[in-house]
Symmetry: C2
Subunit: 205 residues, 2 copies
């Protein structure tokens, strides 16, 4: 005879989702305060009031939690970049705003949320998927902007689109990649603006 | 009555200079094999067959020895860059060759003389004068090339020379600075060539 009142997967789903969110939120705060590298899942469990085993039901490792934190933060940055670039029709202005928004977001993370910056740096260092997705999104955005600028007659059309977009991404990368940004924070706003000027001159028709 | 046969400073000079050279040469080999960070002046003294006190007569610290090793190696790289750029009259070609020579030298150091690369990285991290001089030399070279290219009608003349040269240096820097180069070694030759193309397009009259 079949048991009654067994929770169905459907009904457990949302609740599991909520608990995952709760763990990620608590972990963001905890890692943001004590640092990702110095914290264990046991420390985190104790702070949230869950057992370590219970957390492992939802995340297979500390890195799995770090991945979600990192992906959330990078999503916020790409949302900001998407918003500032959507707000103008000029391709040149889109490139300028994109670069500026990335430098601002990276600098803010470094100077005001250093412990979360360190998670992003770990992510870049160990090539977690979150940073891979982030870089792919930004590369695709550069390519879209250059293509639009070409179609609008704003940019030159003689060079191969892929190579040109990639070179622009490479020029921006020292201010995007957390491992490299730490060496470029002095005068980052001024330097990235000078690089924007160089990039835009290279795109002149 | 004055003593006779007291060595004059002049006669001691060359011999002190020789001993300094001898220490630097031995230290280059020793650090190159065992690593700079893991080696003490005592280890080095033992390997050379000098007393630690004797080495301290010539160098006030391990860093002072590292400085000379680093400066020597960076001088070799700038000599190579100077030679490859002197060999052509085209300013565009000078910039391309300069960038390529720097990427080749940095990659060689990383892959074949990793322990010496680590000294250069320490030098960049702690802002030793040797790396400061190196960067200043390369910045000045970029400025000279851009100025010559403007005078020859090869490059545009509308933008401020200083800012333009600085932006070019910034685009090259991830492949020059040892701390950043380590993150840019994948496809470094191809990527730096794409950046050269971007830089040269930005300089078109």
């Amino acid at each position: 005879m079949a048991k009654t009142h067994t929770p169905t997967p459907q009904s457990r789903g949302p609740s599991e989702h909520d608990i995952r969110d709760q763990i990620v939120e608590a972990a963001t705060e905890y890692f943001g305060h004590y640092g990702y590298n110095k914290t264990t899942v046991s420390d985190l469990a104790k702070a949230i009031g869950f057992s370590k085993a219970y957390i492992y039901k939802f995340f297979e490792s500390k890195q799995a939690i770090g991945e979600v934190i990192c992906a959330n933060r990078l999503s916020e940055i790409t949302a900001t970049v998407d918003a500032v670039t959507a707000d103008t029709t000029s391709a040149s202005e889109k490139l300028r705003r994109m670069f500026k928004a990335l430098v601002d977001a990276g600098s803010h993370l470094f100077f005001h949320e250093r412990k979360l910056y360190d998670i992003a740096a770990a992510s870049a260092s160990e090539a977690w998927p979150s940073v891979g997705h982030y870089e792919a999104h930004l590369k695709a955005l550069v390519l879209d902007i250059v293509r639009d600028g070409r179609e609008a007659g704003e940019f030159e059309r003689k060079t191969p689109l892929d190579e040109t977009a990639n070179a622009i991404y490479l020029a921006m990368k020292p201010y995007i990649n957390p491992l490299m940004l730490q060496y470029n924070l002095d005068n980052a706003a001024q330097h990235s603006s000078q690089l924007s000027n160089l990039i835009l001159r290279s795109l002149a028709p």
